[in-house]
Amino acid sequence: MKRNLSRDKVLAFIILGLFILIVPLLMTARSASKELDTLKAKQKELASLSREYRTLKENVDFVEQRPSLSQIHGVANALDTISSSLGIKGKIKSVKTVTTREVAGSMTEESAEVLIEKVTLNELVNLFYRIGDAPMILSMKRVSMKKSFENPEVLDVTMTLAIFTKK
């Protein structure tokens, strides 16, 4: 009888233990499932970000890989080279160097404020194209164009132009 009772007690403890065990297991299962969901979301985001990174990197590399022409020194020189065939040399009223600084570790940036007066839209488009396609790292930081006060058919343009040279 006593033996039976203790056997029953053991059995009751086993059942109770098994049911109690459900609680921590359930919590662990939920936490594991939550962790998995987080990781899956992270994986999705990382895949999208890695695509974005590759595109960005390609663009930056494309600019960086442009040759740095040794005979060109400064924005004025670069602008002179670019605009020589456009026939707007005389319209460039001023080129004022603003700053020279080190950027991206191994490059020097020289920026200058450029004032061009009375250019036609066609000449301006050609200038922008030449700057974008220049055989050196030439970048427009800021551009402002407005109708000329004297002749609304032409434009006065102010831009901040930067040239990057490798050390």
Partner: protein, 357 residues
């Protein structure tokens, strides 16, 4: 309707049992006699017992033994405990070999006269086995003859028990009904107690316990399986994350959080790109020339670090709204401000957009 059977044994010895089986139908306190069947352990029983829910067995007093004890209490539980010791000194058999029950006869002062009815276990077992072969398993073992003897009072009880007069059939049936309502005694106790119900309950309990264990094991196994699957999947995803990251940055050795480090690289590259690439007004000028509606003229255009400022004039507010809607197709977060009239019945405005979409 519930049916109960009452086995009234009249035989003089326990070797061959004989008597009648009364079948009553109805409910407790409201039984009606349905049939009387003769019974003998020598012959097969002609009664169909399958629809009879329970049986009560009545033994003749000549197969029972009696002792009268004078005890200071009358509680049944106490009596059941003390009687084996009292009986041990009064009977030839060992008290463990007999099965007994008690009937409180009366009180004299603070003491009680208790009638102990007993018989040998082996004898009762033999009778129960004989009945069992006829598919009769009584729940209660009593005696209608004892009931009649006891109902006459304490005086002359011993004489009545020894010289018990034969009861008529009707008297026996009436006594049987009384026994069904309130049994005088029940000697089917202890090791001879009917265990059919208990066994049934035990069996059900065992099945329940087994099912509970199986259910708990099933739930636990399922949860463990879920945990293991999730962990293994998480480990695979972690590996994929690392592979994805190292594919982009093969030279990087210190990797703690792929996503955070990737965001940091993007931020760094964007900053570098902003410095090197600058603004690109050509594409925007092309789109402006294609999308600007008639009636809207831009006088001044500015590009500065992703911010596009368009100053112009229009002939009406509707045209400004139209221009905003069309330019919003390729310029993000566009807002119109500084709207004011100008000479020549025109409206001046300023549009600011946060770069290209």
């Amino acid at each position: 309707m519930k049916k109960v059977g009452f086995v009234d044994i009249k035989s003089k010895s326990a070797d061959i049992l004989s008597g009648n089986i009364y079948v009553f139908a109805g409910g407790p306190g409201n039984y009606k006699l349905e049939s009387v069947t003769e019974y003998s352990s020598d012959h097969p029983l002609s009664l169909n017992t399958s629809d009879i829910s329970d049986f009560t067995l009545s033994l003749p007093v000549r197969l029972l033994n009696f002792r009268v004890l004078n005890l200071p209490f009358s509680e049944r539980e106490k009596l059941q405990k003390i009687v084996p010791f009292e009986l041990g000194g009064l009977i030839l058999e060992h008290a463990d070999n007999v099965v007994f029950d008690v009937v409180v006869l009366g009180q004299s002062g603070d003491r009680f006269d208790v009638l102990v009815t007993y018989t040998e276990k082996a004898v009762l077992q033999k009778m129960l086995s004989a009945l069992s072969s006829a598919n009769v398993d009584p729940l209660i073992v009593t005696s209608i003859e004892l009931q009649v003897s006891v109902s006459g009072g304490v005086d002359g009880l011993a004489t009545r028990l020894v010289t018990h007069e034969d009861l008529t059939q009707d008297e026996r049936i009436a006594a049987a009904l009384n026994e069904l309502r309130d049994p005088t005694l029940n000697m089917r106790t202890g090791t001879l107690a009917r265990t059919r119900e208990t066994e049934k309950v035990k069996k059900k309990l065992k099945r329940t316990v087994a099912l509970l264990i199986a259910l708990a094991l099933l739930i636990n196994s399922y949860l463990i399986f879920e945990i293991l699957t999730a962990k293994s999947e998480a480990s695979a995803v972690k590996k994929e994350l690392r592979t994805l990251y190292t594919a982009v940055f093969p030279a990087e050795k210190r990797i703690t959080d792929e996503l955070y480090q990737m965001k940091s690289h993007i931020k760094e590259t964007k900053e570098k790109g902003d410095v090197l690439v600058g603004v690109r007004p050509l594409q925007l000028l092309l789109e402006l020339s294609q999308k600007t509606p008639r009636g809207v003229v831009f006088n001044e255009i500015g590009f500065d670090r992703g911010l596009v400022t368009l100053k112009g004039e229009a002939t009406s507010m509707n045209e400004i709204d139209g221009a905003k809607a069309r330019l919003s197709e390729f310029l993000g977060d566009m807002s119109v401000s500084d709207i004011r009239p100008s000479a020549g019945d025109k409206t001046l405005f300023t549009m600011v957009a946060k770069g290209r979409r």
